[in-house]
């Protein structure tokens, strides 16, 4: 029987991180991009907890609590911004964000 070690969690976190980054780069819907960013933040959380367990050190778990709090604040502000954008443009497609180009 394979034992699940902190390393496996770190690998899971790396995979989630990659999925998140690819999501941000290829998706065109602002909400889905935002969800991909949340995925990255959760990858960070899993990594921190796994490392905290491996190192037998509490700082990593404290870090996670702060990351969760900040992610919540960001979600509140971010969704507000997206709603303000939607009211003006009636779309959440990133390709429509194009008034300013150089």
């Amino acid at each position: 029987m394979l034992e699940i070690t902190p390393l496996h969690y770190s690998l899971l976190s790396a995979a989630l991180f990659m999925i998140g980054v690819i999501g941000v780069l290829v998706r065109r819907n602002v909400i889905i991009i935002f969800m991909s960013i949340e995925l990255i933040l959760n990858a960070v959380n899993i990594n921190l907890i796994a490392l905290s367990d491996q190192l037998q050190d509490l700082a990593g778990q404290v870090f996670v609590v702060f990351v969760i709090a900040v992610a919540a604040a960001e979600a509140a502000v971010g969704l507000g911004i997206i709603i303000a954008f939607y009211r003006n443009k009636e779309t959440v497609n990133i390709d429509e964000i194009q008034i300013m180009r150089w």
Partner: protein, 489 residues
């Protein structure tokens, strides 16, 4: 590590506590006197003045507080003064702009103060967790401020772009931090330096370094992580753009210097190389892109990208001299950049958006004082003596040569010459072009104060820079030990 707060911690946290209290009082004042904008403005200025006095009161202190989470030292004090002065100038240029845009002032000033609070923590944090909290306090306030003009589509766009890219870069930065935590077993910068002192390398460490550099590169808008900056700077309300390009940049540089020089001195060869490339590419791309712009805010955005490249030279040098040069440059940058944005904010009238280069036409005939002020800011940004910008460039150049980065110094000088082209173009528009239509330009007393402070700052530190050099040297001294151990390797 001893846990818990002591009474001394609260004493040393006085500036931050005063700022937090003042920010909350601004909201209360706004609620009590909803039609009296002077009341909120006065409360904001008072808060900043009191906080500034408290910060200056800690000059010469060198201690760590809150169980090693924050440092109150010369370096932190230097950056706190930079941040508070730029907040003060930003607030002074805001009232007339807000009146034209017809938006409420209360929350605006509250958010400016919140961003300032985050920057104070970025200046004094010596632990990854504190630095991250400071960074986010600042960034979230700026996401809202960038989109403060809700019915304005450009402001909306700026906000959405800044939010998405800011949050994305935060994710990258945090992943890098988590890997560093894994490699060193601690989040404290001092602990990280100790754990890495043996000079061991691993794949995890290299990956962490790259992610950290990329994440911080986003925050200072270094090429190739700069795509958000021109759009956000153009769309955001002008005073917010000004604060974003000065305050946020200064605080991010404080964080970079802390993390890399204090926390990772043993990896100096690796991050020096990364920052060398970033600095060279950033100044070149920033300056060349600025040449083609017809919108002043966008031009200043690219110019600010180029300036981030210049300041990175101080980081690359990684000596006491280099750190001092970066500090000197960030200080003089406050006056010239905020001054230039103050003039742009002044051009905003009921019938003119005022952010196109042609809106400056004939400014000398209309408002000679503003035109002369803008001339001084442009010369200073271009680095012409006897302005402060020249002294800043001189120090960066000296630091690069001293550390043996001759090619970087050459690229720096070539770029300074390129940049003169678009700074002079602004002067040409102000003096040689005919006046354009539009209602009269009004300079409010607050705006005039901001312009005078910026002009005095841009000239004073060019003519008499010794005070500034001394202070920057003292602030950089704290890095002495960390840097010399790295240099020995």
């Amino acid at each position: 590590m001893p846990a818990g707060f002591t009474a001394a911690d609260f004493y040393y946290l006085l500036p931050e506590l005063l700022l937090t209290g003042g920010a909350l009082l601004v909201l209360v004042v706004d609620l009590l006197f909803p039609r009296r904008e002077e009341a909120t403005l006065g409360m904001t200025l008072l808060t900043l003045a009191v906080t500034g006095a408290a910060v200056v009161g800690f000059t010469g202190v060198d201690t760590t507080i809150s169980a090693g989470l924050l440092a109150v030292d010369g370096f932190a004090t230097f950056f706190k003064v930079i941040v508070i002065v730029s907040a003060l100038l930003t607030v002074l240029m805001s009232p007339s702009y807000l009146r034209v845009e017809a938006v409420r002032a209360g929350e605006y000033y509250f958010l400016i103060l919140c961003a300032t609070l985050g920057m104070l923590f970025m200046a004094s944090g010596i632990d990854l967790i504190t630095l991250f909290i400071g960074l986010e306090t600042m960034a979230i306030s700026f996401y809202i401020l960038a989109g403060y003009l809700k019915p304005n589509q450009r402001s909306n766009e700026a906000s959405v772009k800044y939010f998405l890219l800011g949050a994305f870069s935060l994710g990258i930065l945090l992943y890098g931090m988590s890997l560093f935590y894994g490699a060193t077993g601690t989040t404290s910068l001092g602990g990280m330096a100790e754990a890495l002192a043996g000079g061991e390398r691993s794949l995890m460490l290299s990956l962490a370094l790259v992610l950290l550099v990329a994440g911080m590169g986003f925050k200072i808008a270094a090429v190739p992580f700069h795509m958000w900056a021109p759009d956000v700077y153009e769309g955001a309300p002008t005073p917010v753009t000004a604060y974003l390009s000065v305050g946020s940049k200064a605080a991010s540089f404080a964080m970079i210097l802390r993390i890399f020089i204090e926390g990772l001195p043993s990896l100096v060869a690796d991050w020096q190389l990364l920052f060398w490339v970033l600095a060279a590419v950033t100044m070149t791309v920033g300056n060349i892109a600025a040449i083609t712009q017809s919108n002043i805010k966008r031009m200043l955005a690219y110019s600010s990208i180029a300036h981030a490249g210049y300041i990175l030279i101080g980081v690359v040098a990684a000596t006491e001299r280099g750190v001092a040069a970066a500090l000197v440059y960030l200080w003089v940058y406050v006056f010239m950049q905020l001054g230039a944005f103050a003039v742009v904010a002044m051009l905003r009238r009921q019938d003119v958006i005022g952010d196109e280069l042609k809106d400056l036409s004939g400014l000398y005939l209309r408002k000679p004082f503003a035109a002369v002020a803008m001339l001084i800011f442009m010369l200073s940004l271009g680095g012409i003596p006897p302005t402060a910008g020249f002294m800043g460039k001189l120090w960066l150049f000296g630091a690069a040569i001293e550390s043996g980065f001759v090619w970087l110094a050459v690229i720096f000088v070539v770029n300074s010459v390129i940049s003169l082209y678009y700074y002079y173009r602004v002067i040409v528009f102000m003096w040689l072009k005919d006046e354009t239509a539009g209602s009269d330009i009004v300079i409010s007393p607050a705006m005039a104060t901001a312009l005078v402070i910026a002009v005095v700052g841009s000239l004073l530190f060019g003519v008499y820079p010794q005070v500034l050099f001394d202070h920057a040297q003292i602030a950089a001294d704290m890095f002495g030990s960390a840097v010399s151990t790295a240099a020995l390797r």
